[in-house]
């Protein structure tokens, strides 16, 4: 079906469902707890019966005891909009890096699990803004569309999360779960970029992709470092001390990114491209309580 996910791995994903910490705001039936009461399995409250209510929810035992018609209310299980934003800027796309490939795989996992859980899954690729979008789809049969979308992505441009969020969520999206898959090598401040998310009340789960070559580059001597996004050249004479300083700064960058998401109450996982994707993806998602 797809080159992104193997059949075996998809079979493992069949038994996994998304676990959301907060009630969702979906309008259609789904498998997530909703703030609305209605048809559901979990008892929520009683209320007096009024004409027009579904008589199937009348609590006849209470009527027998109190001689009043009382209606049982259940938490309605609804779907949730899942917005999977895949960073397809140039920094993701080095041939030997694997970050972009891993991002697409990770998005495919999320989309697959979301569609299995009857959630509305939207796929968005972004760089300086929204580049390509697959509108919200429900149902497992939409998986082929999602895979096709992901496979058709090509990386280019600079990363600008703030623009992307304003462009996409400014259109009045239903509050939902926002997966951001990126390397987070941003010129902008994270707080500034994620401000629209805060405003619209979305839940965010950040997936930070790390290339070991970025963490500890194998360069020495006089080099001209060309930024893959901006094409800005930077001459540098790389020495051991320079590399040590770089590694220290990169570690600080990772820590700052993780701290930002944790402090915001959002989920955060980091995936290294040199690790086994299937294992690390599932482990980290389960560890973060996203998968059950």
């Amino acid at each position: 079906m797809s080159t992104l996910l193997s059949k075996e791995f998809m079979r493992r994903l069949d038994g996994i469902s998304l676990l959301l910490r907060k009630p969702v705001a979906g309008h259609l039936r789904g498998q997530h707890r909703s703030r609305r009461t209605g048809v559901g399995m979990i008892f929520a409250d009683y209320r007096p019966y009024s004409a027009g209510d579904d008589v199937r929810n009348l609590d006849w035992a209470t009527y027998m005891r109190l001689d009043r018609l009382v209606l049982r209310m259940f938490e309605e299980e609804a779907d949730t909009p899942i917005y999977i934003l895949v960073d397809n800027s140039a920094s993701m796309g080095r041939d030997d890096s694997g970050k972009f490939e891993m991002a697409k795989k990770f998005a495919a996992v999320l989309a697959y699990v979301g569609l299995l859980n009857h959630d509305r899954v939207s796929l968005i690729s972004f760089s300086e803004g929204v580049v390509k979008e697959m509108p919200g789809r429900r149902g497992k049969n939409q998986m082929w569309r999602a895979m096709h979308f992901l496979e058709s992505l090509k990386n280019e441009g600079e990363t600008h999360l703030g623009n992307t969020f304003r462009n996409y969520f400014g259109a009045g999206r239903t509050r939902g779960l926002v997966f951001v898959i990126s390397d987070f090598l941003l010129e902008q401040q994270l707080e500034e970029s994620f401000r629209p998310i805060f405003q619209y009340g979305h839940q965010v789960f950040a997936t930070h992709l790390i290339d070991p070559e970025e963490e500890s580059p194998n360069i020495d001597g006089h080099v001209v470092l060309v930024d893959s996004e901006t094409r800005e050249a930077l001459s540098a004479h790389v020495t051991d001390s320079t590399l040590a300083a770089y590694r220290s700064e990169f570690d600080r960058h990772l820590r700052d990114t993780e701290t930002f998401f944790k402090r915001s109450g959002w989920g955060y996982v980091s995936l290294r491209t040199d690790e086994n994707f299937e294992t690390s993806a599932l482990t980290s998602l389960k560890k973060e309580g996203m998968f059950r």
Partner: protein, 596 residues
């Protein structure tokens, strides 16, 4: 005083090397590796903090250095002439001492190297420049500031001089010009004013030369003669040389000797087989770049025995004993009647000695007269000595009085001669007159106005020498005049001077003397009514052969030697050196400007 010099090949070599270095540095620059990075975000953070300020400064400094390097290379390539100074006068002392005639390793002389250098400098000056050229041999009689063309003509007319005492006129030190140069090898020239810039043409070269040459009879055997030759090695390397004395092809003696560096060696040659006449001494060496001192000339005087007739009425006189003891003299004693009885053609003598005998006519052969009471035949007026116990002075330097002080001579009685033209006073007394005279001419005479018995002359230790000198002067050729190249002063009666090859040498007369000029060594003969005068011209002087005694730096010389100081290659060289320094600084910055 500074000494700077640079030949053009050396300059071009250095300039080419510099350019080559620049090109080499360009190709040796670290290869720039372009690395495509996902993002320079982290790199900019770690590099930006330290580079932000320094990089800007480094960039400007690097730009400045690059511009300076480019300017310097342009200046060095086009060799700008610094004629823009306010002072448009140059004072140049040109050393043309004999040592400047030494050859360099290039085969040209120091003189020509200096001349070419100065010519190049003159040609590089602007047309309105005023130049004063002064030489150390006074060939330029009235130095003055003039145009460059005049200086060029003057320079063309200069030659290597012969004076071993080159003179730097003291007045040049007082001339206030900013450009003062002296072109010299620093060997013979004396002190140089401090503010002169020395352009050195000195180059150590091997040299051997003759510094002394003389001939003398062996005291114990008047028939044997010896030549004394002093040779010196003026170079810093040992040399095996051949010393030769040549008169004719058949009369040639040679000897090989080894000379240590700067060694002086005296060699004695037996020249008994040589005839009287000119002799040439020479040294031959495989390594000798100064030929002027390789040849010396001399004359061997007549060595025959002298037949002397002593005319005296005293058969036991001291004169008889003295003359009899002189090895050179073959003595015949005569009485005055015997002498009168002999006809003129029967006088088989070279000289006559009249001891206390007055004659009434002049002898046909040279003679010396002791106790001339009356010498009417000589046309020299005489008067008796008025006082006794006269003290005598020997004023004139005459061959007869050579090496004789005669300070203790006392006279009891006699006559004195009145000075007339054509005679040479030998002994004079204060207030009385001339006691002894020498009469030159074809037949020479020496007249003494006192008897030996009336004086203590015969008792003096100088008397045998006086007698020997007198006989030598009477019978021998005139003494040989040894001189150095240059202007040579001769007696005033010399009317002609010929070189040994027969060429007539121009003479001029001044102050009662005759003069001729020669720049080359050789043999000359002057003629007068008194007979020939041999003149030997040789550079027999140790100073002449010491052509390497210079404190100036040795230089690699070139025919295209160009003024090293104000312009041309030296300035280019300096600019090139500055360029090299700037290049190194830029190279350092090139590394540093990208280093964290």
């Amino acid at each position: 005083m500074t000494s700077i010099a640079l030949s053009s090949p050396l300059f071009f070599f250095l300039l080419s090397g510099l350019i080559g270095l620049v090109v080499l540095l360009f190709f040796l620059r670290p290869p720039v590796l372009n690395r495509l990075m996902p993002s320079n975000l982290i790199w900019k953070r770690i590099l930006g903090s330290s580079r932000a300020i320094n990089e800007r400064w480094r960039w400007w400094l690097s730009l400045l250095l690059s511009m300076l390097i480019a300017a310097c290379l342009l200046f060095a390539a086009f060799r700008p002439v610094t004629n823009g100074q306010t002072d448009d006068r140059s004072l140049i002392i040109f050393d043309n001492a004999p040592s400047m005639g030494a050859l360099t390793k290039d085969g040209t002389s120091r003189f020509n190297v200096a001349k070419d250098s100065l010519m190049g400098y003159l040609n590089s000056l602007s047309k309105d420049m005023q130049v004063m050229l002064v030489d150390t041999q006074r060939q330029i009689t009235t130095p003055s500031f003039g145009s460059i063309s005049q200086a060029t003509k003057t320079l063309e007319s200069l030659n290597v001089g012969s004076s071993l005492d080159p003179l730097v006129p003291s007045q040049v030190g007082t001339i206030n010009v900013s450009r003062k140069f002296i072109y010299t090898d620093g060997v013979m020239i004396g002190s140089v004013p401090e503010d002169f810039t020395v352009v050195s043409v000195f180059q150590p070269v091997p040299n051997v030369g003759i510094t002394q040459l003389s001939f003398a009879a062996v005291p114990s055997n008047t028939q044997q003669r010896q030549a004394f030759i002093e040779v010196v090695n003026g170079g810093s390397e040992s040399q095996v040389i051949e010393v030769a004395l040549t008169q004719t092809k058949s009369r040639l003696v040679t000897r090989q000797v080894e000379l240590a560096p700067y060694e002086k060696l005296t060699q004695i040659f037996d020249v008994t087989d040589f005839e009287s006449g000119p002799v040439k001494a020479s040294v031959v060496s495989n390594m000798d770049l100064f030929n002027a001192d390789d040849v010396a000339f001399g004359y061997i005087t007549a060595k025959r025995q002298v037949r002397v007739g002593l005319v005296s009425n005293n058969s036991e006189s001291k004169m008889l004993t003295l003359l009899g003891l002189m090895p050179r003299v073959v003595l015949t004693s005569l009485t005055y009647p015997d002498y009168q009885g002999l006809e003129a053609d029967k006088l088989q003598f070279d000289a006559l000695v009249f001891d206390g005998v007055s004659v009434d006519r002049k002898p046909p052969i040279p003679a010396i007269f002791f106790g001339v009471n009356s010498a009417n035949w000589s046309d020299i007026p005489t008067v008796p000595i008025r006082s006794s116990q006269l003290s005598v002075e020997t004023g004139a330097i005459h061959p007869v009085l050579r090496n004789i002080p005669m300070t203790d001579l006392l006279i009891e009685s006699g006559i004195v001669f009145q000075p007339v033209d054509g005679i040479d006073p030998l002994l004079t007394t204060e207030g009385e007159g001339v006691l002894a005279v020498a009469v030159p001419g074809a037949v020479k005479n020496i007249l003494l106005g006192f008897d030996l018995d009336k004086s203590n002359l015969a008792l003096l230790a100088d008397f045998p020498i006086f007698l020997s000198n007198s006989i030598t002067w009477l019978v021998d050729e005139p003494p040989i005049l040894n001189s150095k190249p240059g202007t040579i002063r001769l007696p005033g009666d010399i009317t002609k001077v010929y070189r040994i090859d027969g060429v007539d040498v121009p003479l001029w007369f001044a102050d009662g003397s005759a003069y001729f000029h020669t720049r080359e060594t050789g043999l000359f003969t002057g003629f007068s009514s008194n007979g020939p005068l041999r003149v030997s011209v040789s550079q027999l002087d140790r100073r002449f052969s010491d052509i390497n005694k210079s404190n100036l730096p040795s230089l690699e010389l070139s025919k295209n030697f160009v003024d090293p100081v104000l312009n041309g290659y030296s300035l280019s060289f300096l600019i090139g050196a500055v360029t090299l320094i700037l290049l190194m600084a830029d190279w350092y910055l090139y590394h540093r400007r990208i280093i964290q």
